[in-house]
């Protein structure tokens, strides 16, 4: 990102209004229950933009919907069976206010769905997406993206990257989609001055120093690689896990899915892709009941090994992005933070 611009905060609503004319605009919106959730912005909710709180969801659901129709089928008679791709309506979408952790998660999803294979359902949405990131000046209570090296500031991945520097945003221009936006709505932007660049760097330094949790992700990775995580850690976590799948559903990088048929009539139906969780006992169970992952400890181990060991080996970095959402959602206390802390005990 070379070009740095600024956008006055007073001008943000008008800028977003312009964007929402050309694109579906998705941003963190505080709803009437007080929850901040990535939602499509329209005239009814645009005033509730909330850039102060961490959105409860990530943008995973927009790229890999919880339930997605892969195609429809028609078993016409005894001898007919047709498969019809469903028309995918993927509007050009701008995701605004995406935190570094969530954008890092998108980069991980790219690897999962587009490296080696091309998952056309994902590719369609990805091609139609523009990401406007927001660097985190103030990490939230359970954040540890500094330890997973996916924040608090992001150096690449966004089309435009915003940093709050007081009464304005410093705007870094990323890829061509970002250039297109600043060119089209150039009158909202001014060239950044040296003082503003310094303000951004100052904000970065302050953000980096204000994490409240000390999380030794690297140490946990090392212990998993050495296979030196004590058995009692797996036992304790497996006893606590309530098998709700909440951690996987809320996680921006958990992309395991299942595929099932959903009958609509006697002869027609849809093939559905939906979220799944490796901690569910049915995840690996084969027909006839045989299950290679028969114990809860093995399922829990798979979850953390995948995030912190297998992905490090395969992609050079863990797939936990340190967003802390599983810490918030796990009522059993089986979240990745507890695992990392237990795994590092006594070291």
């Amino acid at each position: 990102m070379n070009d740095k611009l600024t956008l006055k905060k007073d001008h943000l609503p008008a800028f977003l209004r312009k964007l929402s004319k050309d694109y579906r605009l998705v941003a963190p919106i505080k709803n009437r229950h007080g929850d901040t959730i990535f939602t499509r912005i329209d005239s009814s909710n645009s005033a509730s933009l909330d850039l102060d709180n961490q959105p409860q969801n990530s943008i995973k659901q927009f790229m890999l919907p919880q339930r997605e129709v892969l195609f429809s089928y028609h078993a016409k008679t005894e001898t007919g069976y047709e498969f019809n791709p469903t028309d995918q309506i993927n509007e050009p979408t701008i995701f605004f206010g995406v935190r570094s952790c969530d954008l890092s998660a998108i980069l991980y999803m790219d690897v999962t769905f587009l490296q080696g294979i091309t998952d056309s359902h994902y590719l369609e949405k990805r091609t139609n997406s523009v990401f406007i990131g927001l660097n985190c000046n103030q990490p939230f209570a359970n954040c540890f993206c500094n330890a997973t090296k996916s924040g608090p500031f992001l150096e690449f991945g966004a089309d435009l990257q915003f940093t709050d520097i007081g009464d304005r945003f410093l705007v870094e221009v990323g890829r061509s989609k970002g250039i297109k936006i600043v060119e089209k709505w150039g009158h909202f932007f001014s060239a950044a001055e040296e003082k503003e660049n310094k303000q951004q760097y100052q904000a970065f330094l302050e953000a980096r120093g204000s994490f409240t949790r000390l999380v030794h992700v690297d140490q946990a990775i090392k212990r998993l690689q050495e296979n030196s995580v004590p058995e009692k850690v797996w036992n304790q976590l497996s006893l606590r896990c309530q098998d709700c799948g909440g951690c996987a559903y809320i996680c921006p990088t958990c992309t395991c899915f299942t595929i099932t048929d959903c009958p609509l009539t006697k002869n027609t139906g849809e093939r559905i892709r939906s979220w799944d969780a490796c901690t569910f006992s049915g995840f690996t169970r084969m027909t006839g009941g045989h299950n290679p992952v028969s114990k809860k400890t093995e399922a829990i181990r798979q979850r953390f090994m995948h995030k912190l060991c297998y992905d490090v080996k395969k992609h050079g970095r863990p797939s936990c992005v340190g967003c802390g959402r599983c810490v918030d959602i796990c009522f059993g206390g089986t979240d990745i933070l507890r695992f990392i802390n237990l795994a590092c005990e006594g070291s």
Partner: protein, 281 residues
């Protein structure tokens, strides 16, 4: 690298041309694509599998039991075990199912072509090995010797008799059967498949062993083969796991960091020993 087509996850209609009843639980479905052009373009290798679709039942991975060398239609041998396979068993010739694939890493056929081969199978596990055996027998450049050891639960459970009778006509093939529980009219061997090792020529220097069957059988066979001096590269097996996508994304078939659908299903013992896998634990 495999590139999915834009219609990814989309099966192609295939006609059941013939159904061979192998035993009370196993049927072999002889299939060709409904669109004739797709038959011409289609190729696969022994050890690979197809994702089979049945209306309202979803999909299941099934290995080829046919060989591409015989230029025959696709054969998939299926044991009736769950919802999809039971529905498949209900179908008659002429019915249409969905197929996508082929997926997975095949057996190392170029290497196997230079070796004597020892096949050890249990139950439906003979299905993917049929593909390898017949590929060798129909390969004019294959001059090795083939031993097939096949274990079934009871004489009634012995499947693939058509293939077995075909192999037994070949002087270079030795095919031995055993059952766990004999009946009064069974005059063959009784006992687990490993008891057949004493009745066959074992030569780890020249032989490569190829195994498929229930996990307990795989484990017992591997352990004996190792003791008899087979190296880890010369013990090859094919693994069964729950699968959904078949292309390495959904992760249902995870196996200690590997995915059976893309890293397998064929693995050498050397590869398996680097992993924490129930079949060899």
């Amino acid at each position: 690298m495999k590139t999915l087509q834009p219609e990814d996850y989309l099966p192609r209609p295939a006609i059941i041309k013939e159904i061979i009843t192998e035993n009370s639980q196993i049927k072999t479905f002889v299939l060709s694509f409904a669109n004739p052009e797709q038959n011409t373009d289609f190729s696969y290798q022994p050890g690979q599998f197809m994702m089979v679709s049945i209306p309202h039942c979803g999909e299941a991975p099934i290995s080829f039991s046919s060989t591409p060398a015989r230029k025959e239609m696709i054969r998939l041998s299926v044991r009736k075990a769950g919802k999809l396979t039971s529905a498949l068993h209900e179908l008659q010739a002429g019915a249409i199912i969905g197929l996508r694939g082929p997926y997975g890493k095949p057996f190392p056929m170029d290497y196997l072509a230079k070796r004597d081969l020892l096949f050890v199978a249990g139950g439906i596990g003979l299905a993917p090995l049929c593909s390898v055996i017949n590929s060798c027998l129909f390969n004019p450049d294959y001059h090795g010797r083939i031993s097939i050891l096949y274990g079934s639960r009871t004489p009634e459970d012995i499947a693939f008799m058509g293939e077995i009778n075909f192999w037994r006509q070949n002087p270079d093939v030795k095919c031995l059967l055993t059952v766990d529980q004999g009946t009064s009219d069974w005059h063959g061997a009784t006992g687990v498949v490993t008891t057949l090792f004493s009745q066959t020529e074992i030569n780890p220097e020249q032989q490569t062993a190829i195994i498929c069957g229930p996990p307990m059988m795989i484990k017992a066979v591997i352990s004996e083969l190792n003791e008899m001096g087979f190296g880890d590269d010369d013990i090859i097996t094919t693994m069964e796991r729950h699968m959904k996508c078949g292309v390495g994304v959904c992760r249902h078939c995870h196996m200690d960091g590997k995915l059976v659908c893309v890293d397998g299903p064929v693995f050498s013992l050397r590869q398996l020993k680097e992993l924490d896998v129930m079949e060899i634990k």
